[in-house]
């Protein structure tokens, strides 16, 4: 039974730009799972917004919706759709709008939280959740009202492996109940067992996609330990308990960890493990933390003392974009630190993004914003680069470009610490640091095994 259909959809972001959706057609029936793949900035998220019926920009074409169709949408950046301040209130918001009796709400809200594997109190403030936890929260907020169509934007990038496993289970049950699912995903293989139709969005049209081999996320890629460890130490973390003031420890670091010039270290942990908080602490911008035995470039981390020597890429790239065009965004810090402005165009050329030079960074897709924010840091050629989930929202082509740039920076002596939910088989790193079960440690065993192997 058809629940939603798009016919001849034309959509673009401005009169001077070509249409990103060009005569697009799609029919979704009850109980079907559609997965849409495509390059970064190809219009996947815009398509989801049209399906959700909340695209405020004008578009041409017909949209058929079955009567009383309930649509749930989880956006790529869950912060964009958080409305309330506590977990319980956020999930109950939809129920309030549907006129559900208050005494029935608590059970439904708790049930939804359990379904997405978010075991937290209903009074927990939303702001203390990590991005991945917020993604789970938004899924719970959609599942609570039993939508007939569920739209998911890049779940694999935002969730850790446990989250993906749990989501697979939830989606399977939903499909069996007749709920239709449309997901936008750069890694469709993570949901291969569920997907009925795999599409590739290219040139504004949907074409049948090809099934890929499952990405082996567990694999790690360790560089041979050729780097002399006597190089300048950029980051030193002595054993400590990482905690926010007046709160239980988030994790415990029992061994000394260090990052030297030219090294690439990947910090891996589940959603909410404390990866982003540690990165912000290293950059000196994490508030409300205790005094920690951490030094960065031989100084106690503090905001503003490192100048162009330190670059931090935040998990939400729109937090660090503010100029009116991509080119001026890249040139902003170069001007500030009196560095050659030509580096901006050079890095855009290297990343094959010169076509976006005059575009507003605020109108780009999540993935494009991520890569522009990264480019604005890379062109400073800092001594230390802290990257919070730098590959989120990027397609394979741009992942390869970013990897190439990171390796170049590393060769020039830049120390790089990047976070991820899982191993990074496409990037050769020197070491892995893991946050597991409340413990931060060096994955020395893995490194040794990989080197021996």
């Amino acid at each position: 039974m058809k629940i939603i259909a798009l016919e001849g959809i034309h959509f673009g972001y401005g009169s001077h730009q070509s249409e990103i959706l060009d005569d697009l057609n799609l029919v979704i029936n009850r109980g079907e799972c559609h997965c849409i793949n495509g390059a970064t900035g190809s219009g996947k998220s815009s398509l989801l917004h049209i399906l959700a019926g909340e695209q405020c920009r004008p578009y041409e074409g017909d949209v058929y919706r079955a009567p009383s169709l309930l649509v749930g949408l989880v956006m790529q950046d869950p912060n964009a759709q958080v409305l309330r301040q506590s977990v319980g209130a956020e999930i109950a918001f939809a129920l309030e709008n549907l006129g559900i009796a208050a005494d029935l709400m608590v059970e439904k809200v708790q049930q939804s939280l359990r379904r997405v594997g978010l075991y937290t109190s209903l009074d927990t403030p939303v702001e203390v959740l990590s991005l991945g936890q917020k993604y789970r929260l938004m899924m719970a907020a959609q599942l609570v009202f039993n939508p007939s169509l569920l739209l998911l934007d890049e779940p694999w990038a935002q969730l850790d492996d446990n989250g993906v496993k749990e989501l697979n289970g939830v989606l399977k049950a939903l499909l069996e109940d007749g709920v239709a699912i449309v997901m936008v995903e750069h890694n469709p293989s993570a949901f291969a067992d569920l997907v009925d139709y795999l599409w590739l969005l290219e040139g504004g049209k949907l074409r049948a996609g090809q099934r890929q081999q499952a990405q082996t996320a567990d694999l790690v890629n360790i560089r041979p330990s050729s780097k002399p460890r006597h190089r300048e130490c950029l980051v030193n973390i002595a054993p400590h308990q990482f905690r926010f003031i007046d709160q239980e420890p988030l994790f415990e670091c029992e061994q000394e960890l260090s990052l030297h010039r030219g090294e690439i270290v990947a910090l891996v942990g589940d959603n909410g493990a404390g990866k982003s908080s540690l990165l912000k602490t290293l950059a000196g911008i994490q508030a409300n933390i205790t005094n920690l035995p951490i030094t960065v470039m031989a100084k106690r981390p503090q905001l503003g003392i490192y100048g162009s020597d330190l670059g931090l890429l935040m998990q939400r790239p729109n937090r660090q974009l503010f100029e009116q065009t991509v080119l001026t965004e890249l040139q902003f810090s170069l001007k500030r630190f009196k560095l050659p402005l030509a580096r901006a165009e050079q890095i855009l050329t290297e990343l094959d993004l010169l076509k976006l030079a005059d575009s507003s960074p605020h109108k780009l897709s999540y993935g494009q914003q991520h890569i522009i924010a990264l480019a604005s840091l890379v062109c400073l050629q800092p001594k230390l680069l802290l990257l919070d989930d730098p590959f989120a929202g990027l397609d394979k082509y741009h992942v390869a470009k970013v990897v190439q740039i990171l390796l170049q920076l590393s060769a020039q002596g830049c120390g790089i610490l990047l976070t991820s939910h899982r191993g990074l088989p496409f990037l050769a790193v020197d070491r892995y640091w893991f946050i597991e079960n409340g413990h931060l440690g060096d994955g020395a065993q893995i490194t040794e095994q990989a080197n021996v192997g």
Binding site: Q324, S360, K363
Partner: protein
């Protein structure tokens, strides 16, 4: 020119009117300079027009701001405060009917700001004459207000293109300001 106001337009007009009155009441600037109130007024009216892009937006904003100010007893003048806020906005909207699209955004903003200031000074002239001020003194007062208010109004108008371009870059305006 687009037709009726939609919800987003109405919300934005309400936001501008409220912010104008709130800022005016919070700052209570005692600069000793006549006409400084034209800065905020001109700025919010022109931003309102730039974002909503409809004739009538400034009048709606001005009348709404006047009503809010009257209810909250902000500023001097009692019920006349409605005229103080409304008259410049109406004059600017009226002028817009004859000049929309004829000038660049910068010049259009400056001309509208001066017209708004003329109406504001005119209201002062009318009040002065009504309370029995001699014509000569009232006219001198009018001229002084026009010059001082005009300077503040033009200063606000000069900010408009930059602010609108920033709003457009942040995807808050559908059409690029020109």
């Amino acid at each position: 020119m687009k037709s009726p106001f939609d919800l987003q337009d109405a919300l934005f007009i309400g936001f501008c009117a409220t912010l104008l009155v709130v800022l005016k009441s919070m700052l209570r600037l005692k600069l000793g300079l006549s006409g400084h109130s034209m800065f905020l007024m001109t700025f919010f009216y022109l931003i309102c027009y730039g974002v909503v892009n409809r004739v009538g937006a400034m009048t709606a904003c001005g009348l709404l701001a006047g009503l809010v100010a009257m209810m909250l007893s902000v500023g001097k003048g009692g019920p006349m405060i409605l005229l103080k806020f409304g008259l410049p906005a109406m004059a600017m909207d009226l002028a817009l009917l004859f000049m929309a699209g004829a000038f660049s955004l910068r010049w259009q903003s400056i001309i509208l700001a001066l017209i708004g200031c003329l109406a504001w000074s005119g209201k002062g002239l009318l009040s002065n004459l009504l309370v029995g001020m001699s014509g000569q003194v009232a006219l001198a007062e009018f001229g002084l207000s026009l010059v001082q208010g005009g300077a503040f109004a033009v200063a606000a108008a000069l900010l408009i293109p930059t602010v609108l371009r920033r709003l457009h870059a942040h995807d808050l305006l559908p059409k690029k300001p020109e």
